[in-house]
Subunit: 226 residues, 2 copies
């Protein structure tokens, strides 16, 4: 059986990622505790963890709020991702093994299958997308690098429903994944780094347009809406 703290962590995280706890909203310990029928103590633990994940802001004596990011911060995060993931894929190209490669190929296959049918399965694509990037980072064999990337993969999960919808961007993104896999198979670090950087900066350009769109913003300060 899972601990109450773990349960609270997963619950709050899921609700935030699903935007059922909207960006900027308060997260009172007692209410969440009551909702899960546990006490405040494990909820506090969960909130601290989520804070270090960057998902919530904590203010002394005032409690937790779901984090919100400005357009500038989103740009910063994408730049970091481009830097770290291109570095990671370069390392991976030098040392990836057959099993890891086969895994990446399968993830690509599944994503393309989820796209090729009439009804696009965004849940599968989104989940596999994160798994793909995580697998590449793991293949680089630098655990701290992976840890630093983890928080940067969280945000795309939140906006995927906007970012991936109704566009040929999705097909292009899957093509990128396929090409990254090919470059890794070829053991070509420079190629791998270039296509990974392309992949992330292409997404950044789209996200930027998204965030500056007032329709999707919470207010004029261009923050990510619920």
């Amino acid at each position: 059986m899972k601990t109450s703290a773990e349960q609270a962590y997963e619950f709050i995280r899921t609700e935030i990622l699903a935007s059922r706890f909207p960006s900027g909203s308060r997260l009172p310990e007692e209410k969440i505790a009551a909702q899960l029928d546990i006490s405040r103590t494990p909820v506090r633990d969960a909130l601290r963890r989520l804070h270090s994940d960057g998902l919530i802001d904590l203010t002394a004596n005032s409690g937790a709020r779901v984090a919100s990011w400005s357009a500038v911060e989103l740009m910063e995060m994408s730049e970091l991702r481009a830097l770290l993931e291109s570095f990671a894929v370069g390392l991976a190209a030098r040392k990836i093994n057959a099993g890891e490669l086969a895994n990446l190929v399968q993830l690509c296959d599944e994503m393309e299958a989820a796209l090729s049918v009439d009804k696009v399965d965004l849940d599968v694509i989104s989940a596999n997308n994160v798994t793909f990037h995580r697998s590449v980072a793991n293949a680089a064999g630098n655990s701290r690098l992976t840890a630093n990337l983890e928080s940067l993969w969280t945000f795309p999960l939140m906006v995927r429903k906007f970012a991936l919808f109704g566009d040929d961007r999705l097909k292009r993104s899957l093509d990128h994944h396929r090409e990254i896999t090919t470059a890794l198979h070829a053991g070509d670090p420079q190629w791998a780094e270039a296509i990974m950087r392309t992949h992330i900066l292409a997404a950044r350009a789209y996200d930027a347009a998204l965030v500056s769109d007032p329709q999707l913003s919470e207010n004029g300060q261009s923050q990510i809406a619920s």
Copy 2:
């Protein structure tokens, strides 16, 4: 007045960095709480924070231990630092202002003063060293980048007493700082990135020799000693 949680955090962190809580040793909540005359609750908070800082390991139902790093992990951390800080200093070279530059110059002056006298003041040099790197990262203007670097600056603080002692490495390190400042003043991102990378990889080479030295290792597995 500081909160008890903050007090516990700073206390434990200080003791770890001073190696009075040796690497690998257990950190029982109750004993620390008794030592500070507070309850376990704020101590738990502090331990969770230190865990996300990477300073301690947490095991379910078994508690906290001071983290220890293998030689491989130290190498990984240095590689990450080289990547992130050279990126940061490149950004900084494009946008740093006069006030920030003057601050860096003063830090260099103070470090050189602490070295030039007969008795080397390692405390001043160590403190200014971290401040210098933090200031450069701040000048880059990417808050998430700074946050990711923060945990990577922690380790050098722990081993400084070994790493900086009895060597001309110290003078070379201060020369690097001076040259980084000069490159920033010139607004030359490539120069700045190159000298920053040099600075960090030079330290890495020294750390590697240090860690593989069994005299300074806790055991044959080449971990950092207390």
